[in-house]
């Protein structure tokens, strides 16, 4: 009676430790190793092993072994018949000597006999084989009792759940990786499409080749200087790439007119922001406000812009960024009726129109980014790549930018628009 009580206490201690091990251990291999110790130690079983089942390879791969020789197979194959019988048997003890009708026990008979493997317990969780436990003889030399087998099954269930949890986590991780890859592919496709659109828009205008792409890059520079996160910066770039998409519907002869266009043609051209908005609105962009940037990139803070003559706070922030980027590119590229202006004049122009056409804090951010590049504070040469290496003369422009930045105090606070 006393012995039975002690045996129970010893076994329950092992079972409790096993439950804790399975639910708390972070390291899977370690959990399996400890679980095997607990199982063997609870009934003083001389040797054993825990294997995990791979249903793709139909293989049982040993995760932990105790007392099995180096020549004991670490990978054991199951055939269809074995699988079927294991599933029918469920999570119950199989005596190896009684199971020789199954191919599995015929194939590995010699290894099992050599190491006196007496029991096999298929780990069946939710009608799936997740693994197998092999157990040798007991240290007392006695046969396994029905109580022993119940204890083994209880502990095996814990180990099986541990393996099933691990499999589930691995599957979740695999799916999450796959989703991430799909998302990245989708983002890449979106970016490529946006760039293709920008190129298509620019092809229409032979005098301003590359304009949309440059406006995208300038918008990116401004957003980045404002400290926006990577996604928001990318959103600003996309808004720049697509701001002129409405021009696709404007007649080429108007866009490419080698003279100042007349009022009627101008009215036609000025429809492009609203048309661009209509084109972009039905598209599900990863960033909001891309259609708004197209619609309002010709608005001015003083209300003298078009199409709606909006005032400062009514203009979407992203449209203010694209407006500045668009104007800067217009001033720094040759037009059919006008050569590009020198950099110093453009800085003056930006300064003069700050608060009227452009948001002051954006002019500040833009000038600041330019200054950082010219003084070497920023290593990338984005402006030089976009404008040509000789256009910005540091010795002339740096003092001017410094003066401009000293003179320009932001008159309105940043009102970042969420691009999520």
């Amino acid at each position: 009676m006393a012995e039975n009580q002690q045996k129970l206490i010893h076994t329950f201690g092992a079972l409790a430790e096993l439950g804790h091990e399975v639910t708390h251990k972070q390291n899977f291999q370690e959990m399996i190793r400890t679980s095997l110790h607990l199982l063997l130690g609870s009934l003083a079983i001389m040797r054993g092993g825990v294997a995990r089942y791979s249903r793709f390879g139909h293989e049982l791969n040993m995760l932990a072994v105790r007392g099995l020789d180096d020549d004991f197979p670490l990978s054991l194959s199951l055939c269809y018949e074995d699988e079927r019988q294991f599933l029918t048997n469920g999570l119950n003890v199989i005596e190896t000597s009684q199971a020789r009708v199954l191919p599995f026990f015929q194939v590995y008979d010699r290894s099992f006999e050599k190491k006196r493997v007496e029991l096999a317990v298929p780990l069946i969780i939710h009608d799936e084989i997740v693994g197998l436990i092999l157990l040798g003889e007991k240290a007392n030399g006695e046969p396994y009792t029905s109580d022993d087998k119940e204890i083994i099954c209880a502990m095996a269930r814990h180990i099986g759940v541990g393996i099933a949890q691990r499999n589930l986590m691995a599957e979740l991780e695999r799916r999450a990786d796959e989703n991430r890859r799909l998302y990245d592919d989708l983002r890449m496709t979106y970016k490529d499409t946006v760039k293709a659109f920008a190129t298509a828009i620019d092809c229409k205008d032979k005098y301003t080749e590359g304009h949309s792409v440059r406006v995208g890059k300038y918008s990116e520079i401004i957003a980045s200087e404002l400290g926006w996160d990577a996604d928001q910066v990318e959103g600003a770039a996309v808004a720049g790439y697509l701001h002129d998409v409405g021009k696709l519907t404007v007649e080429s002869k108007i866009i490419n007119a080698p003279y100042r266009i007349n009022a009627k043609e101008n009215a036609e051209l000025n429809k492009h922001p609203a048309i661009g908005y209509e084109i972009l609105l039905p598209i599900h962009h990863p960033y909001a406000d891309v259609p708004l940037a197209a619609k309002y990139h010709h608005e001015r803070l003083d209300g003298r812009g078009y199409p709606d003559g909006l005032y400062d706070s009514d203009i979407p922030y992203i449209a203010k960024i694209v407006c500045l980027a668009d104007s800067f590119d217009a001033m720094t590229t040759d037009r059919p009726y006008k050569r590009r202006r020198p950099a110093n004049e453009i800085v003056e122009d930006l300064q003069r129109n700050s608060g009227k056409q452009f948001a002051p804090e954006l002019v500040t951010a833009f000038c600041s980014a330019m200054l950082k590049e010219l003084t070497g504070e920023k290593k990338d040469k984005k402006f030089r790549r976009l404008l040509g290496k000789d256009y910005l003369q540091a010795d002339e422009i740096v003092p001017q930018l410094k003066n401009a930045l000293n003179g320009m105090n932001a008159t309105s606070s940043l009102t970042l628009v969420s691009l999520d």
Partner: protein, 106 residues
């Protein structure tokens, strides 16, 4: 931080005595097992595990001691458990470990 418990080992001729810690669990047990296997590989013929300081041996401890017994058996060496307290003797007897070792309680 190294939390691995320190175990004492004494070797006299072909006999090595390993002193188990107060609680024979996985951490201390695996260290004992490693040490015993190292001594057996070095030609030790008798492994003495001294339990004078040991109050509790849990299931993991039992599994590890079975590993020592198995390794000694493979090498043709014998295992002696010495200074084992009464509760632990009962546990070893109940589980059949005493069939494989010499019990020496002075």
């Amino acid at each position: 931080m190294n939390t691995e418990p320190k175990i004492s080992v004494q070797t006299t001729g072909e006999t090595t005595t390993v002193f188990a810690t107060d609680y024979l669990n996985k951490l201390s047990g695996e260290k004992i097992e490693r040490e015993c296997k190292r001594q057996l590989d070095a030609g030790c013929k008798t492994i003495v595990v001294n339990f004078a300081e040991t109050e509790i041996v849990n299931s993991i401890g039992v599994s590890i001691l079975l590993g020592v017994i198995d390794a000694a058996s493979d090498k043709g060496a014998s295992v002696v458990f010495s200074d084992v307290n009464e509760n632990t003797i009962e546990l070893f007897q109940m589980l059949g470990l005493t069939n494989h070792v010499i019990m020496d309680n002075g």
